[in-house]
């Protein structure tokens, strides 16, 4: 019941905020803020409690589970479960929720009740996505997330919001309906071959199907996740949506909505379709690397600050894609760390841009410069998060990207080398951002107030989080470890395809899941793996 409670708590707080908004502006703000902080405290308590348990790092165990019948006629159950990954992501959700509420304290002035209602509604839906184990329930939350986000951008957004919401909506709606078709396809294929019609995750794992069917269904899921992530080529909605969204909307978009795509790939895409994703992995990793470099170059050429940060998001998500499709322990843990770190660092950058826009009423890079001299606290925070974005050791993003590269190196050296070029380009855009905004002469004569207590508080919390993640990521890695091992055990064939010769692939049975536990063992023979891998890709593609 804990899991249902997490969602009901958020929805309830949102409703309460809406209903009390007529009493005064303080009510919705404080209600949502307190509700989120209480939930963070509760989840942190749970985390500490779980970490003390002896089976905390044993794979294949859910930390908490809820399984009730919902629509038995269709085999739909209210099945939610939490493992280490879900726990971390729900915590991130609540943390960024607090940031979004606090960052809107002064920026949002009208229709406060409805705004906070929508905010909590998104958080509840995203938490639901991270916890759902029934594919119908997953799709339910997935769709639920869209509407409040549409309202937040469409009602409180900037000048060009109608165009942005239209584009956002068409991309996400069309792609998620493709996923629905794929979910139903999987449902019927599983039902016909086993006689059991179910949407349950554990039931659908290992559904027997022909490789063509598997590939088609996999693509249905992949496109939906890729649009959210976003993968290069379906990313064009993101810069527009970010640019027009209010600060809270940008924080949620960058920090959470993109992560939902990554989470879907980790939890559902690869475990459900191990063979298809394996033969698709080189393309996906290639897309990831292309995204890293292409988006970083584009980020450098932007003059709108929000657009620029939006492109850096796409670039970072390329690393996540690379890590997920490398599908080994290191790369996956790295992807999870990037997801957390990017949520914090990019969220913080969007908050800073929002603050600049609130003060100076512009996001144009060319009109800025020398802001450090008048706003040293903001400058310092901006500098730190720009450095986090370029992957400075000691900050969270570095840990994640390093682990991903380490993991990807074992799978494909050339792509890893190309991906690491991303570090260079990201250094360029991050320093460029700091240079144009904060350093130099204050030639325009800006006179703006520095951060007040509230704003400094937000930044302090985010800085603490990103530094903690960078200096001591072990608790996060330990928490995710068991879940990652369990997921890798679900997709042993994937592992087999990447690791073994094409000849030995047939003998790899789902029972031999033990390979998942060997974390770094694969490091040894990375060199002689490359030809085997090329062969397997070729045979998968034919």
């Amino acid at each position: 019941m804990i899991l249902a409670g997490i969602i009901i708590w958020l929805v309830g707080a949102g409703l309460l905020a809406w209903l009390t908004s007529s009493r005064g502006d303080g009510w919705p703000r404080w209600i949502t803020l307190i509700a989120l902080i209480v939930q963070i405290a509760f989840l942190a308590g749970l985390w500490i409690g779980y970490a003390g348990r002896s089976d905390f790092t044993a794979p294949g165990r859910w930390l908490a589970e809820l399984d009730l019948p919902w629509i038995p006629a269709l085999g739909i159950r209210l099945h939610m479960a939490m493992d280490g990954i879900s726990l971390l992501f729900v915590l991130l959700t609540d943390f960024l929720g607090v940031v979004a509420v606090a960052a809107s304290w002064q920026g949002i002035r009208n229709r406060l009740g409805f705004f906070h209602f929508n905010l909590m509604w998104i958080l509840a839906a995203i938490a639901g996505v991270f916890l759902a184990l029934d594919l119908f329930l997953f799709y339910f939350f997935w769709e639920l997330m869209l509407v409040p986000l549409y309202f937040i951008i469409g009602i409180w957004g900037h000048e060009n919001r109608i165009y942005a919401t239209l584009k956002f909506f068409i991309f996400t709606q069309a792609s998620s309906l493709l996923m629905l078709a794929a979910i139903l396809g999987l449902y019927f294929i599983h039902g016909r071959s086993t006689g059991v019609y179910t949407f349950d995750y554990s039931g659908l794992l290992g559904t027997p199907m022909t490789s063509v069917t598997e590939m088609l269904l996999m693509l249905g899921f992949f496109i939906a996740f890729a649009v959210k992530l976003p993968v290069i080529a379906v990313h064009t909605w993101l810069p527009d949506a970010h640019t027009e969204a209010p600060t809270a909307g940008s924080v949620i978009l960058a920090g959470l909505v993109l992560k939902v795509g990554a989470y879907g790939m980790i939890r559902f895409l690869v475990p459900l379709f191990p063979r298809a994703t394996a033969s698709f992995s080189m393309i996906a990793m290639g897309l990831g690397v292309a995204g890293i470099i292409y988006a970083a170059v584009l980020a450098f050429s932007q003059t709108d600050l929000k657009r620029m940060i939006a492109y850096t998001s796409i670039s970072h998500m390329g690393f996540v894609l690379l890590g997920i499709f490398a599908w080994n322990q290191l790369a996956l843990e790295g992807a999870i760390v990037i997801i957390l770190a990017h949520g914090i660092s990019t969220g913080a950058l969007f908050v800073i841009v929002g603050d600049i826009q609130g003060r100076a009423h512009t996001r144009d890079l060319d009109k800025m410069g020398g802001l450090w001299s008048i706003m040293p606290r903001m400058g310092g925070a901006g500098m730190l998060f720009a450095l986090a974005s370029l992957g400075l050791p000691g900050l969270g993003n570095f840990v994640g990207e390093f682990l991903v590269l380490l993991g990807a190196y074992q799978v494909n050296v050339p792509l890893t080398v190309l991906a690491s070029l991303g570090f260079i380009v990201s250094t360029v855009y991050a320093l460029w951002l700091v240079q144009k905004t904060f350093l130099g002469e204050n030639s325009r004569g800006w006179k703006l107030p520095d951060y007040n207590l509230r704003e400094s508080g937000i930044m302090a919390a985010m800085i603490a989080a990103i530094v903690a993640l960078g200096i001591y990521p072990q608790p996060v890695l330990t928490t995710a470890k068991a879940a990652v091992e369990a997921l890798r055990a679900y997709a042993p064939r994937y592992h087999a395809v990447l690791k073994d010769d094409a000849g030995s692939r047939e003998s790899a049975s789902p029972g031999k899941a033990g390979g998942g536990a060997q974390t770094v063992a694969a490091k040894a023979g990375s060199r002689d793996r490359i030809p085997a891998e090329n062969r397997s890709t070729a045979s998968g593609g034919s």
Partner: protein
Amino acid sequence: MSGADFVGILPLAILAAAAVLVILVLSVYRSHLLTCILTLLGLVAAAASLPVAASVGPRGVTILLISDGYALFYTGIILAATFSVTVLSYVFLRSRPGRREELYLLLLLAALGAAVLVFSSHFASLFLGLELLSSSLFVLIAYPRGILNVEAGIKYLILASVSTAFLLFGMSLVYAQLGTMEFARIATAGRGAGGAILIAGLGLLAVGLAFKLALVPFHMWAPDIYQGAPAPVTAFVASVSKVGAFGVLLRFFRLAGVQGHGHLFLVFTLIAIASMFGGNLLALLQGNVRRLLAYSSISHLGYLLVAFLASGALAVTAVTFYLLAYTATIVAAFGVAVLVEGNGAAGAIADYRGLFWRRPWIALVMAGALFSLAGIPLTAGFIGKFYLIGAGAGSSLWLLVLALVISSGIGVYYYLRLIVIMYLRPQQTAPEAASTHWSGSLILGALFLAILWLGVYPAPWIDMIQRNALLK
């Protein structure tokens, strides 16, 4: 006819008796409230007789009617929708002078016609039900006798007559080929029988019913009627008449085996795709709420055809559930129109602008209805659409599923746009207060809860449909 036969068609008998009673009372004593209450009592009595009628089991009552779970379930939907429309009509007519009582009589007759349609197992009863429905509707649409109403009424009269002519011609061709007008015997005799005449007959039948359902390309009348008719009558046209016509369409073509006739299957596929895309794309262009909902209902009937073309028990459940969800939703949407629209142009967007600020609860119901039409989770429409896509995917109708998916993706956009309009700041000149009465709010509240119930916990309803309302 035995006693059990009479019990089997008790709901129809009660509806007819209620209509007669209302006529008699009207000739003695004219009272708006009394007439309305009598009508409601008649509907409740008919609904209460549904379980009684179910107790005598599925049975053919003469060769004309069949009383089975399917007919009774659809009658239940028809009665519930008519009940809501009756209450809404009371709210609507309270603030309008003139002769008001006959509207209830016509509502009862139209509901009877729709119920006869879903009970029918023979061309004669199909025709009877359809004519009863259409001729009552024609007067209902023109009821307040404004110039626009009369225009809409005449438009409906002419087009309904044309479609009836198609239907009759189709029936006669089928009869000429097979020598029978009973559905069951047409099904057995028609199986394997090809021939241009039979195909043409079935095709003309389909055209006739497609007119009633306003499927593309027979949809031209819908936006004008939806806009021109008084709001409660529009709710009736959009719900009860669709349920009746789709009920008989499904029963007949399921028996006749639409899958067995390749040409017919192709025609229905094309109609479905055209309706889904036509409805949604044209709705995008509308600046009037009533017209928007009209095009939206065209597309929803197109969605229904996807499950209609699918095979198996899942398809019938999907159609029935979707009709249930759609009826609750569309009646709620037009119920809001009754309470919101002033005496100005019907469906003007100005009436809805800033509704959240003026009348938040009504706006909430409208938002719920629009979400349901868009198929957003937590509402009836989401489960319904999921069911339809499931039925299509289960029969591997991938082209139709794809069309449904893409067109409903387009559809979501205009529903959300309308919600954003309701959330804009109201203009300086607030529209004049439209009709209000507690009973109208009560009905809207009930419909809103029904939409949520169907969307959050549909299991009991699905269970009921699967136990009772499957076509054998």
